[in-house]
């Protein structure tokens, strides 16, 4: 392409035949204009990409040592921990990497919620993100089964049994998922196969996600479109270096957990080999699934012809699928919560609700936790189906600034809000 300048003859030679350098320059380089006011909350997209790379790299070498057979799986993981060179390190990175991947992606999602990044014209970008989340969850769930500990086995059994809630064909679906009449060797083998496959599917969806991102570029903390060149800066070097700095800090935190408290986010029960005859006292999923688990268990009553189990399953999947229609539930023309005082407060109520549900999910399904779980579930869905549509009509947003480079002068000095806002110098 004509707009790519270089004096390096090798790069010129390649560029002429395969314009990969100008492609990169437009994708993450000097030709990709980016709003100049992105805060550090915008770092989490690149961090998610970093985690995906780390998980695939460690996963590939772990798969070289792992044996997907019910008789050998547990011991092969322990062999990795004891005998394989740096095996303990690679396995702890992969194990905690799952958690950190979700931490990063959840922050990325909540950032999108707070600043209205899902609104037109970025609905499809958002929906692709929801699909990525679903694929991640499936991958993480199947990966957790592979070490074949007690929690692996019973988690797999409980979650696959959910599908029995579907009327008529439910039982057949479960037997098909298992490849037998219990979670057993065929189940373990197919989970391993899919756990290896899905991350590469994930890479594909991520590419499309970024493609969609480039159509209109990043949203920004003010939630208004860039009006001209004065509002934007090239992605490289400004955001490449900012992303690299974010990666450094993130990796330091990640490393601290991997090296000093590698089992803090895991369950002790998973260091006991799977036993199909002994159920652990409390079956709890990994922390990143706890809110959904709480929603699942909060339904204890049948409604009309729908069994409690089926409603629980529908609501659990619905709690994620509802995100797909979020752009049409929140009709407010203003994106950023900075200019939506009510939405800002209710956003934090929603965050608190998710934490509440996570706490309930970690506890037994009995009163009083059950009532908290039911209240939390009601608010979760009310937030989407009642609060957001109502806010779109009732809320009076603050006046928007006319452009990114001329921040709003009227509307009170507290417009920026005191809520955890990192430096926004740009």
């Amino acid at each position: 392409m004509s707009d790519f300048q270089t004096t390096n003859p090798v790069i010129k030679w390649i560029e002429y035949r395969l314009p990969v350098f100008s492609f990169l320059d437009h994708a993450i380089g000097t030709k990709y204009p980016t709003p100049k006011n992105l805060s550090y909350w915008w770092n989490f997209g690149s961090l998610a990409g970093l985690m995906l790379v780390i998980m695939i790299a460690t996963g590939i070498v772990l798969a070289m040592q792992y044996t997907a057979h019910v008789d050998y799986a547990f011991d092969s993981v322990e062999r990795i921990m004891r005998d394989v060179n740096y095996g303990w390190l690679i396995r702890y990175i992969h194990m905690n990497g799952g958690s950190f991947f979700f931490i990063v992606v959840y922050i990325h999602i909540f950032r999108g919620r707070y600043y209205g990044s899902y609104k037109a014209p970025r609905e499809l970008l958002w929906m692709l993100g929801v699909v990525i989340l679903l694929a991640m969850m499936a991958t993480a769930f199947m990966g957790y089964v592979l070490p074949w500990g007690q929690m692996s086995f019973w988690g797999a059994k409980v979650i696959t049994s959910l599908f029995s809630a579907f009327p008529l064909i439910g039982e057949d679906i479960v037997i098909w998922l298992w490849g037998g009449f219990s979670v057993d060797n065929p189940t373990l083998n197919r989970f391993f196969s899919l756990h290896y496959l899905l991350p590469f599917v994930l890479v594909g969806i991520v590419v499309v996600h970024i493609w969609a991102l480039h159509q209109f570029g990043s949203n920004n903390p003010l939630g208004i479109e860039t009006k001209g060149p004065q509002d934007s800066i090239p992605f490289h070097p400004y955001y490449t270096v900012k992303d690299l700095y974010g990666m450094g800090v993130f990796l330091a935190v990640f490393a601290a957990v991997v090296f000093f408290i590698p089992n803090a986010m895991g369950e002790a029960d998973n260091y006991i080999e799977a036993n199909s005859l002994v159920t652990p006292a409390h079956i709890v999923p990994e922390w990143y699934f706890l809110p959904y688990y709480a929603i699942l268990r909060s339904i204890t009553f049948d409604i009309w012809f729908l069994s409690a189990k089926l409603i629980g399953v529908i609501l659990m999947f619905g709690s994620i699928l509802v995100l797909l229609i979020l752009p049409w539930l929140d009709r407010s023309p203003v994106r950023s919560s900075k200019f939506r005082p009510l939405h800002k407060q209710l956003f934090w109520v929603f965050v608190a609700d998710c934490i509440l549900l996570g706490w309930v999910g970690a506890n037994p399904a009995e009163p009083p936790y059950l009532y908290f779980g039911q209240a939390g579930t009601v608010y979760y869905f009310a937030h989407f189906f009642i609060v957001l549509p109502l806010l779109s009509v009732l809320e009076r947003p603050r006046p928007l600034p006319s452009s990114i480079s001329e921040p709003v002068l009227k509307g009170g000095g507290t417009a920026m809000g005191a809520t955890t806002k990192p430096m926004e110098k740009a």
Binding site: K36, D75, E78, M81, R82, W88, L89, Y92, I233, P237, Y238, V241, K242, L244, Y245, G248, V249, L251, A252, A255, A256, V258, F259, F260, P262, N263, A268, D269, Y271, I272, A281, H282, Q345, W348, V349, A352, I355, L356, W359, A362, N363, K425, A426
Partner: protein
């Protein structure tokens, strides 16, 4: 509004903590271990004593199938001592050229011997309760080392008057449900320590718990040593990248 949210969050966190406590039968004593903390390392003498307790007491019923004799080098034993430990044991190997299984002396590459040929035999010999493998015990229970030590050293008590204990059960305040099949395994001086340490019940419980932490997490020392270097490196790198970021962004302001 913010205060309400903070209140909800605070309450949730508090009860999370309370819940973690409640799932234990009794709050564990606050033992300290040489392997605690980011600079924590194993105590070789304690590991060797703990191995002696395991070998002379626990190994009568509990297997240790993930640990091999060669691993004992971590405890500070040399090749000859390890070989000596190994040859004391008999391993069933084979089949030989005639298709027969045969017995031979243990080798450093062999796993520590299991007291029973399989779980069913173990259960049959122990009134139906299989003594669990101890390789990972210190990671398979919350606060493993302290739990094991408390269970062994302080948990066995007379049951309260109305507490029903069946034949083959023992009362232990730290065991979930308080009914444990294992009778109190330690008594003062059931082992005679080679280094002359007094073999009190608490000493032996502490040593064997220390040893079990090593069997569960043998790479703990390498992990922490490497961790300090890696985290320091990343912090310095982050500092430099922050300086670079400041430099790059400087011309915007």
């Amino acid at each position: 509004m913010k205060r309400i949210i903070a209140g909800i969050l605070g309450a949730a966190l508090l009860s999370l903590g309370a819940q973690a406590q409640a799932s234990e039968s009794k709050a564990l004593p606050d033992y300290s271990w040489s392997f605690d903390g980011i600079f924590g390392q194993f105590d070789r003498a304690a590991l060797q004593r703990g191995y002696q307790v395991y070998r002379e007491v626990c190994a009568g019923c509990h297997s240790m199938r993930l640990v091999t004799f060669r691993n004992l080098a971590d405890l500070g034993y040399d090749a000859e001592q390890i070989k000596a430990f190994a040859v004391e044991t008999t391993v069933i190997d084979g089949p030989d050229d005639e298709g027969e299984m045969f017995e031979r002396d243990g080798k450093p590459s062999d796993r520590l011997p299991s007291p029973f040929p399989n779980d069913k035999a173990a259960a049959a010999a122990n009134g139906g309760a299989t003594p669990p493998d101890l390789s990972l015990m210190a990671k398979a229970r919350p606060h493993g080392p302290s739990y094991i030590r408390a269970l062994l050293a302080a948990g066995y008590e007379e049951p309260p008057g109305d507490f029903e204990i069946l034949e083959g059960q023992n009362y232990n305040t730290y065991f979930p449900g308080n009914r444990i099949a294992m009778a109190a395994p330690l008594d003062d001086d059931v082992v005679e320590y080679q280094d002359g340490t007094e073999a009190s019940v608490d000493q032996m419980a502490a040593d064997v718990s220390h040893f079990l932490m090593w069997t569960a997490e043998p790479k703990l020392e390498q992990r922490k040593e490497m961790g300090i270097k890696v985290v320091l490196f990343l912090l310095v790198l982050s500092g430099i990248l922050y300086a670079v970021k400041r430099k790059v962004w400087a011309d915007l302001h």
